[in-house]
Amino acid sequence: MDFTYDDEQQALRESVRGLLATAYADHDARRRAVAEDPGFDRTLWGRLAEMGVLGLPFSEDHGGVGAGPVEIGIVCRELGRVLAPEPYLASVVHAGGLVAAVGTPEQKADLLGRLSAGEIVLAAADTSPGGRWAAQADGVRASESGDGWTLSGVADPVVGGAFADHLVVTAALPDGGTGAFVVDASAATVTGYAAADLTRAASVRFDDSAATPLGQPGRDLTASIATISDLTRILGANQALGVMESQVRATTDYLKTRKQFGVTLNTFQALTFRAADMYVSLELATSVVDWATMTIAGGDRDAVADAADRVGLQVSRAGRHIGQEAIQLHGGIGMTAEYAVGVGTAHLEVLDQWLGNGPHHLRRLSERVTDHDLVEALS
């Protein structure tokens, strides 16, 4: 049992941190990046490709690096620390994860190779308007005609979809079940918009859009789709953890320097005690994030699903607590768009509502609560 990074993992963290520190030296750089299309820094995206970061999850056969979940988690955590708007989680972890899980060898080599090289951006279209974290598709339907497959329906929000080259779409199959398809973005109507944290998402309409089945055509992929969502939930929790780390640090720094009534704010115990509670939430969340990330390596699908619910609930609770307190302890400045703290709170909510919020995970855990005697931390 070991909760520390090895030398290579530390080196990865330092190099990613260094690269991001250059691209997003301050919050202004992030504001500039999200102010213009495509809503992220394409130069940085290219550098991440050169470093091998975009190919981390994928096997070397498919142009990737073949790294484990801990390495991917490190990247997500670093991205979170600077509120990076790059669609790593959406494009690499989620959409790329779907391709890696269910695609044919040819599809993997093609799509994952180009994704790893930074040549294309993918986005997963798996949510219908009003939908709530279901692996079964209900907003988009697949049809098979003589010469191939087409999709019809609407997916929204498609995170990272505004500037994706290809969409990985989950769609209801004619004979029941859910399949996955690759659609060229030009074959659909993509309407981009900014979420509350100014990262980009899209509403995507398919009208008999030509689609290529991922993997064996017509097969029900619900279980694999659910597992990739669980993996994305866990890695999204890493990203949220990075956001929270920055918020706790920014808040303590602010309490040490901001003066009111002629003294710095850390003179007031009413404030320092609240900062202490933020630290408690951060430490507890860190433990569960690390645990859930390590659970992925075990490879057991049910264990990963359980870990996703547990880390989802923990990070959701911690995010609400830290995100709200970070703004409150900063006062008015925390409300402004020019300051990172409040935008971080927005980012935490976007991650949470996209990947699975607290009540959702609590409901799922509640359903299973009598299936076990104790929750075992160590198997």
């Binding site: 049992m1 070991d2 909760f3 520390t4 990074y5 090895d6 993992q9 801990v70 303590t252 309490l255 040490k256 850390n266 115990q269 320092t272 005690f273 900062a275 202490a276 509670d277 630290y279 408690v280 430490e283 507890l284 969340a285 860190t286 433990s287 569960v288 690390d290 645990w291 990330t293 390590m294 659970t295 390596a297 075990g298 547990r310 609930l313 923990q314 609590l362 409901r363 855990l365 509640s366 359903e367 299973r368 609560v369 009598t370 005697d373 104790l374 929750v375 931390a377 160590l378 198997s379």
Partner: protein, 383 residues
């Protein structure tokens, strides 16, 4: 990063689990698992069973019965013990005065007291808090004045847990009123049968007799029962209160209490709100347990991990939260708290209100949770 225990640690855990579930009397374990009070004899019997196997004081120096385990092994020992319903070795002996004597005591004191302390032949009480010295312990006023080779002690201690069972009491006393308040404190070992020692019970809100006042009136204490040097008491007290990394949070006991509640209150487990409360608590306990594991796996150089304060703070909150859930699930049956044993109400329900009330102490003793927040904000966050 790796989740699995090493084969050696996994084997160690199995060995602990086997011992605790087979070698400690079932009757004692049942009492713990059901949340009933233990008698003095049961606590002594259990600790002696552990001590016979070298499992009562594994964190002591090996020459005095310690095991030279890693912190992780001690954590596993501690968790498995709680999980099996084995009473934790008496803290005053095993966690407090034992390590203090091993570190600061004279050779004579070690030989006289340590074996008897490990085996609970001597039941120690703690004489720290006073009516005007709680969190501000350094303000204590009990005095010890030199008279020939002896010290003469006068004053009052309070909140002395299980002092009614105590044979000896390790006591912080003021030996020098002239110097800075921390520098004038010493630790004396006092035989509780000495003339002038009086133990008076304090009745608590749960109706139980758990704590006491201990009064000292011209109590003569031989000079060789001072620990360390005169004036070293504050250093010793800080060592005693701060050297613990394992078992800071009652993780195993709280997990077990919640698991037991799921069974005893099974009739209410169909209620979605109840299920949600249990699921939320289980998740918080998982976070706590994992944090405890991080602390024990990665504490360097004998210094307490800074996150120890997190464990105390959150651990006591969750301990209290589980008792709140038990009380809510008991409902009207909880009113039978002081009914006779032939009450038609179930035992767990009858114990729920006293337990809830009793556990309010958890966020007060051992450095109140406000003190823990102070430690976090000052020491960790630098505020």
């Amino acid at each position: 990063m790796q989740l699995e225990l090493s084969p050696a640690d996994a084997e160690f855990r199995t060995r602990m689990r086997d011992f605790f579930t087979t070698k400690v009397p079932q009757e004692i374990r049942d009492a713990v698992l059901e949340g009933r009070h233990l008698t003095r004899d049961q606590i002594v019997e259990s600790q002696r069973a552990l001590n016979a196997e070298g499992l009562a004081v594994p964190h002591w120096p090996t020459e005095w019965g310690g095991q030279d385990w890693t912190d992780l092994q001690r954590h596993l020992w501690h968790e498995e013990m709680q999980r099996a319903g084995v009473p934790i070795p008496l803290a005053f002996n095993a966690s407090m005065i034992g390590p203090v004597l091993a570190q600061f005591g004279s050779q004579e004191q070690k030989e006289r007291f340590l074996p008897a302390t490990a085996n609970l032949d001597i039941w120690w009480s703690q004489g720290f808090s006073e009516p005007d010295a709680g969190s501000d312990l350094a303000s204590l006023r009990t005095t010890a004045v030199r008279d020939g080779d002896d010290w003469v002690v006068n004053g009052q201690k309070t909140w002395t847990t299980l002092g009614q069972h105590g044979d000896w009491i390790f006591t912080l006393v003021r030996t020098d009123p002239e110097v800075k308040k921390q520098a004038g404190i010493s630790m004396l070992l006092i035989d509780m049968t000495s003339p002038g020692v009086e133990v008076r019970p304090i009745e608590l809100i749960d109706g139980g007799h758990e704590v006491n006042e201990v009064w000292f009136s011209d109590v003569r204490v031989p000079g060789d029962l001072l620990v360390g040097e005169p004036g070293q008491g504050w250093t010793i007290a800080k060592f005693l209160l701060g050297n613990e990394r394992v078992g800071v949070a009652p993780v195993g006991a709280t997990k077990r209490a919640l698991a037991t509640l799921k069974k005893t209150a099974a009739a209410q487990m169909d209620d979605p709100l109840v299920r949600a409360r249990v699921a939320e608590l289980e998740n918080e306990l998982l976070a706590l347990e994992l944090t405890a594991l991080r602390v024990v796996a990665h504490s360097a150089g004998g210094e307490p991990h800074p996150a120890s304060s997190v464990l105390k703070l959150k651990g006591t909150e969750l301990q209290q939260a589980v008792s709140e859930l038990a009380l809510d699930l008991a409902g009207p049956a909880s009113l039978a708290a002081r009914a006779d044993d032939d009450s038609p109400q179930e035992g767990w329900a009858r114990r729920s209100a006293p337990t809830y009330l009793n556990l309010r102490k958890a966020s007060i003793y051992g450095g109140s949770n406000e003190i823990q927040r102070q430690i976090i904000s000052r020491t960790i966050l630098g505020l």
